[in-house]
Symmetry: C2
Amino acid sequence: MSSQYSPLIDELIEALRCLPGVGPKSAQRMSFQLLERNRSGGARLAKALEAAIDKVGHCRSCRTLTELDECLVCANPKRDRRTICVVESPADVLAFEQSGDYRGVYFVLMGHLSPIDGIGPAEIGIDLLVERVKALAVEELILATNPTVEGEATAYYISEQMRQLGVAVSRIAHGVPLGGELEYVDAGTLAHALKGRQRFE
Amino acid sequence: MSSQYSPLIDELIEALRCLPGVGPKSAQRMSFQLLERNRSGGARLAKALEAAIDKVGHCRSCRTLTELDECLVCANPKRDRRTICVVESPADVLAFEQSGDYRGVYFVLMGHLSPIDGIGPAEIGIDLLVERVKALAVEELILATNPTVEGEATAYYISEQMRQLGVAVSRIAHGVPLGGELEYVDAGTLAHALKGRQRFE
Ligand SMILES: [Zn+2]
Ligand SMILES: [Zn+2]
C-alpha cells in the first residue's frame, strides 16, 4: 500500500492507521480528503492531538483522563460525594454523564483485574479507591464494570473490599436494552437477562 | 456530546470529526484509545499531519499531490511518456499504481467539470494538459474519469480538445467487476454493462 510518489503522504496514511477501526483503504481516503479539501481541519487535528497528548493526565481523585489536577466532576461542589460509581474507562464516565441521570462522583479503574497481564489491585487503583471511600464517608458504591468475565471478577473483588469497610455496594442492572428487539440481542445478554429475571407482579 | 470534564479531550473529539466517516461516537472512541493506550501513535499522527499539510503541494507535470516539485511517477525515466491516463484524483493514481499494470504517466484533474460550482476547464488544468500533450508528443490519452454524469461530461470535453490535437483518445471500460455477482452489482453499473455489451464470438 505504498503510493510510490510521496513519502509524506505514505507516512500520513500509515500514521492514520493508529486510529481504531481505520484500515489501509480508509486511511488513504482520509489522507486525500484532508490534503485536497480540508487542510485547516487537518491542522486543527494535529494541534488537538499534540495538546491532548502533552497535557492530559489523570484526575488525582477519580483517575479519569483530564488535563486538570482534579476533573470537573470531582471539582463540582454540586455532585454528591457519598455515592461513587466505579467504571473501567473514561468513556464509561462520558456515557453516564450523557445519560444525564447520575449526580454522584466516579472512580475510574482504567482497566480491570487481569492477573495474566500482571494487572492486579494496585494497577487499577484500589488503594486510592479505599482511601477515597474513607475520606468522603461514602454511603453507596455502584459497580458499573463491564459485564464480561474480567469485569465481573473485578466487581466481585471490589465488593469484598467494600464490605470490610461497611459500605453498601450495588451493581448496575444488565439485560435486554430498552427498545431492543429480542431477536437482535446477543446470546450472552439474553442468557444474562433470563438468569436475572424478576417476579412479575 | 461534551464531556464536561476536559476541554482538551472535547477539542480532540471535535477535531477528529474532520476525518471522513468519523461520527461523534467513533471520534470519542478514537480519542480515548489514543490517550489511554497509544500516545506514541497519536504523536506520530500529529507530526505526519503537520508535515504533509505544510509540505504537500501539486506535481508541476501531472498535478497530483506530492511534496516534490515533480512526482515520482513523472520523474521516473522508465515510465512511458507517450501515454497519459487522465484521472480525477490522486487516489485514482494510487489505485492504478496498485493494480500494477500501467506503465504510462498520469494527469490528475483534481476534480471534474462542474459549471454550477464554478469549476471550468481552467480549474481542472486543461491548459496544462494540452501543453503537456504537445510537449511529450503523446500518442494515447486514456480517459479514466469516474462513470458519473460529471465524469462523463469531463471525459467528453477533454476528448474534443484532444481530437483537435490529433491524439488518440480511449475510455477505460466500465461494467460488472470481475468476480462480481450480478445480484450484488448496483443498477447503474448493470445498465451501463448492458448498454456496453459486445458481440460474443
Ligand atoms: Zn475526577
Ligand atoms: Zn507528476
